[in-house]
């Protein structure tokens, strides 16, 4: 076998070529694996097209900005961060495929992504199987606490319940009749179950609650808005709690404006409508309608002002808005960086163990803390829509509210608690003292 090579090496020119080729191969061999460890890859799993693109595209942009800012500070563990962006196109099974692609093919150390709960439920098995980390930045329905997921968005006790409390209060209008309108998937259905139980506990009769679901992208709101007006004319103050998601909100608010439903008569509080969704609407007919979030762009604080300036410079658009899920990514990313530095490695198990207890600044002031149940502490704000598409804060919680994964108002979940630090369980039953497992 070596005879032809030796014969070739005997000839001077061929020998030189052989040595050069061998040297190159050796060098490439050395450089190859070293190159693969040069950057830490961060996956970004947000819909850039389809019905949810209106909400999710800006989250991809803020992640790119955070990665750029971190690289300017020297990266992480001495390496540069590299963003890997994929587009699951508002297609829920595609979310799972793209998550698998990010983890196995692109070898990302962490994924920041998802918006709708159905997209999150689709990717859960992938993250469990491949043992990676997902930071989920959006308010959701609770009833979940997974080892591989960190929930930087609001649980129902950090958004939905305070919003209903506000509407029941004097300032909110002392609502006695409730319309719960949502898009037809797991988040609105579960949140409405929790809210129905909560309202009944507060003494609201079944006949004073109207629940309604529409498909994603629904555009013909005439009947539903007319039904809301009819329901609201029973002589009792009526309020609407909206869990409508995506671009269906645009024709919904347009129809509210066209049919003359004013916020002073029937206020609508939305959980998935922020500055980004209002950006394409004429908000003058919507004056006074409400949203419940843990962050508003209009809140004045030094940290928030710096962030908004950096953001508008990064996007080269002085009118670009910021919103709550963006802040959740800012907090989540800061916590992940701190945990990786504390653990000294990007190994998912070590980072997962290092995350509970980390603190990161809220953009509105104060520090947010990662809890053992993988939720964080957040302030709650109720804001009213202004004519310029921003929100005026009309109420806020006195301090930070810790996220509760298992709602105390539902029979199946009030006995459950999540604790990944001491109990190492996401659904530990306090009554039977047993871990439910996954």
């Amino acid at each position: 076998m070596f005879i032809p090579i030796r014969a070739a090496a005997a000839r001077p020119l061929t020998r030189r070529w052989l040595i050069a080729a061998a040297g190159l191969a050796f060098g490439a061999g050395l450089a190859g694996p070293a190159q693969a460890q040069d950057t830490i890859k961060v996956g970004i799993l947000h819909s850039l097209s389809g019905t949810m693109a209106i909400s999710e595209t800006t989250l991809k942009d803020v992640m790119l900005m955070l990665i750029e800012e971190q690289n300017k500070k020297g990266g992480l563990l001495g390496k540069k961060l590299e963003a890997v962006v994929v587009d699951p196109a508002s297609n829920w099974p595609l979310f799972a495929e793209k998550a698998r692609e990010l983890i196995t093919k692109d070898k990302v150390s962490v994924v920041f992504g998802c918006w709708t709960s159905v997209s999150r439920k689709s990717v859960l098995p992938v993250f469990k199987e491949l043992n990676s980390i997902l930071f989920y930045p959006v308010q959701y329905e609770g009833e979940e606490s997974e080892r591989n997921v960190f929930y930087t968005g609001a649980a129902p006790n950090q958004q939905a319940i305070p919003a209903v409390d506000y509407l029941m209060s004097k300032d909110g209008g002392e609502a006695k009749r409730w319309v719960l309108a949502g898009t037809d998937y797991v988040y609105p259905r579960t949140t409405n179950k929790i809210l129905e139980a909560y309202l009944k506990q507060k003494g609201v009769a079944q006949t004073d609650i109207m629940i309604n679901y529409t498909p994603f992208g629904h555009s013909d709101w005439q009947t539903i808005v007319s039904d809301i007006k009819k329901f609201g004319s029973a002589g009792k103050k009526t309020a609407v709690v909206s869990t409508i998601n995506g671009d269906a909100n645009v024709p919904f608010y347009k129809e509210l404006g066209n049919q003359g439903v004013k916020a002073t008569d029937i206020p609508v509080v939305a959980f998935s409508v922020g500055e980004e969704e209002l950006a394409g609407l004429d908000t003058k007919p919507l004056l006074g309608h409400l949203a419940a979030w843990n962050y508003f762009q209009s809140i004045k604080s030094p940290v928030n002002d710096t962030f908004i300036k950096t953001w508008q410079t990064f996007t080269k658009n002085p009118k670009r808005v910021s919103n709550d899920p963006m802040e959740a990514h800012v907090i989540g990313f800061a916590m992940w960086v701190k945990a990786v530095e504390k653990a000294g490695t990007i190994n998912p198990d070590k980072v997962i163990d290092a995350l509970p207890g980390t603190e990161a600044p809220n953009l509105t002031g104060g520090m947010s803390k990662m809890l053992p149940n993988h939720h964080i502490t957040k302030p709650v704000f109720i804001g009213e829509v202004r004519g310029d598409g921003q929100f005026d804060v009309v109420w806020k919680t006195p301090g930070l509210v810790p996220g509760d994964a298992w709602s105390d108002y539902l029979d199946g979940s009030k006995d459950l608690e999540a604790d990944w630090v001491t109990l190492k369980c996401g659904n530990y039953n306090k009554v039977t003292q047993k871990c439910g497992g996954s």
């Binding site: 005439q222 009947t223 002589g235 002073t264 008569d265 006074g288």
Partner: protein, 537 residues
């Protein structure tokens, strides 16, 4: 005589001293009231509003109006309250004179929330009941109707006595009745009269008033109110049927607009065009581009943007349609499955082209001013955008019918639909007619896109939402027949809207689809099938 003059003088002096004292007291009360606005607290602002109204100061109305419009400002440092008048000048609220000095650095608007807005509406109602402006008087009457503020009763009585415009007088009487029904001290006879007034008004607001009567209302009044509620509910139930029919017509017109182009291409050529939705999408994007150009270069033309966009959308979508026909479809005649696949692939390509050119997110297409808002017809609400779309659809349909009936092109199209071979033998260029038909169908889809951009989100996926509905309408109504499409579209729209209040949006749609499947089992050709020997060919 002299004593008389002295007494007269004393009286005059005393009166003027009283007046000055009264206005000083009023001014004091007013200044104290204004001080409440400096606290930047919602509760303090409410006290301020009530105090300003109670002070009766001539500037009270202006201050409350400025507060409602977000033009009331305060400076915590200088402890002064200002407001901006119509000319955007800063006016000192205490004196009413324009502020001579420059605006204080910490000038901030007095904040509002919904509860404050309701209190302001009620307060303004009470203040402006006798305003010289009739529109303001009507608004005031409606505001008092909502607030049922007993303090406005004397002003209401005065206003009713002086009012000359019949509509406003009726509104004032109804407001008076609403206040009486919620007033403990009102007599039973007054309350009975008030119930009769509410029953005459007979709309949702009257229902709300009658249903929410306080618990200590006398039983006779309660009984009368219950009877009135039942009567109003019966009337409103009838009107609700009319309202649902209107919603059904507006939904049907949207379906018709989207489907009519498909009826022509499917009917004339038997081609299943899965890219039809993308023609609609192209029309919507044409509207967006036209509006962008107008926004940047000729902002005054915004209200005419749709008139400019419609012919452009027709030409662009029609041109693309002709290209599709000449480039792809003409090679696939007689092979329906291949046409279906090819046009499906084409729809994906078109979506991606638009996504690459314009971006994947929704585009903001604005409504011209004449498309916003609504008006009341009897007891139903008619929104302007839907009204114009219904009228527009009927116009397009009429023009299309005229084109098919009275033009040569229409004649040749109908000939080719009925018997292609015979038409060719008569010298009609069937290839050319096919291209023109496809272009016409696509052009109409483009026009549909202009209308749909007003009520739906404009995104590359816009067409996907309408392709299924269009096929549904064409199959149900009968292929090749325009009247069939019209009847089919309106039937489906009305059926959907009558089901929706009972079953919800999701189940209603499912029910309609199931109904169509069952209908097709009985009549596979649809409602109005074309009769003819060679229709299948």
């Amino acid at each position: 005589m002299r004593a008389f003059c002295e007494r007269l003088l004393a009286l005059v002096v005393a009166l003027s001293v009283l007046c000055v004292a009264a206005s000083a007291a009023r001014a004091d009360a007013y200044d104290d009231a204004l001080a409440h606005f400096l606290a930047d607290s919602f509760d303090e602002t409410i006290e301020g509003i009530n105090a300003v109204v109670a002070s009766g100061h001539p500037l009270a109305e202006k201050v409350i109006e400025a507060l409602q419009a977000g033009r009331l400002l305060f400076s915590a440092e200088q402890k002064r309250v200002f407001f901006k008048d119509e000319g955007d000048r800063l006016v000192d609220a205490a004196s009413g004179a324009p502020s001579p000095a420059a605006a204080p650095a910490d000038l901030a608007p007095v904040r509002l929330n919904n509860r404050l807005r309701r209190i302001i509406e009620a307060a303004l109602g009470g203040l402006t009941l006798m305003s010289p402006n009739p529109a303001k008087r009507l608004e005031a009457a409606q505001a008092v109707f909502k607030s049922k503020d007993a303090n406005a009763l004397p002003a209401l009585d005065q206003a009713i006595a002086k009012e000359t415009v019949a509509r406003i007088k009726r509104a004032l009487t109804e407001a008076h009745a609403a206040v009486i029904l919620y007033l403990d001290s009102a007599s039973q006879a007054d309350k009975i009269d008030a119930v009769a007034v509410m029953r005459d008004r007979g709309d949702q607001d009257a229902l709300a008033v009658l249903r929410g009567l306080p618990a200590d209302t006398p039983p006779t009044v309660k009984q009368l109110a219950a009877d009135a509620v039942a009567a109003i509910e019966r009337t409103l139930a009838l009107w609700e049927t009319v309202q649902n029919a209107w919603y059904g017509i507006s939904l049907g017109s949207v379906l018709l607009l989207a489907a009519i182009g498909l009826a022509i291409t499917f009917g004339v050529m038997g081609v299943i065009n899965m890219a039809h939705g993308e023609m609609v999408m192209l029309g919507a994007y044409t509207t967006f581009v036209v509006q962008e150009v107008i926004r940047t270069r000729y902002p005054g033309l915004f209200d005419y943007s749709l008139f400019i966009a419609t012919p452009l959308a027709f030409l662009i979508a029609g041109f693309v349609g002709v290209l599709i026909e000449r480039g792809i479809i003409q090679f696939l005649y007689g092979r329906p499955l291949e046409t279906l696949l090819a046009t499906w692939g084409l729809s994906l390509i078109l979506q991606q082209v638009v996504r690459t050119a314009f971006g994947p997110t929704n585009k903001d297409v604005g409504n011209p001013s004449w498309m916003s808002g609504s008006f009341d017809l009897g007891h139903i609400t008619v929104t302007y955008n839907r009204l114009w779309i219904v009228l527009f659809t009927l116009l397009v349909f009429a023009l299309l019918l005229a084109l098919l009936r009275y033009t040569r092109l229409g004649l040749e199209m109908r000939a080719v639909t009925q018997n292609r071979a015979m038409a060719a033998s008569m010298g009609i260029r069937t290839g050319w007619i096919d291209a023109m038909t496809f272009g016409l169908g696509s052009g109409i889809a483009g026009i549909a896109g202009v209308a749909l951009s007003q009520i739906d989100n404009v995104s590359p996926n816009l067409g996907q939402g309408y392709i299924i509905d269009s096929f549904m309408v064409v199959v149900f109504g009968g292929v090749g027949n325009l009247w069939g499409t019209l009847v089919g579209a309106f039937t489906l729209g009305i059926a959907n809207k009558f089901l929706e209040p009972f079953a919800g949006a999701v189940l209603g749609k499912i029910a309609i689809l199931v109904m169509i499947i069952l209908f097709i089992q009985k009549r596979p050709r649809g409602l109005f099938a074309l009769k003819g020997r060679a229709v299948e060919a």
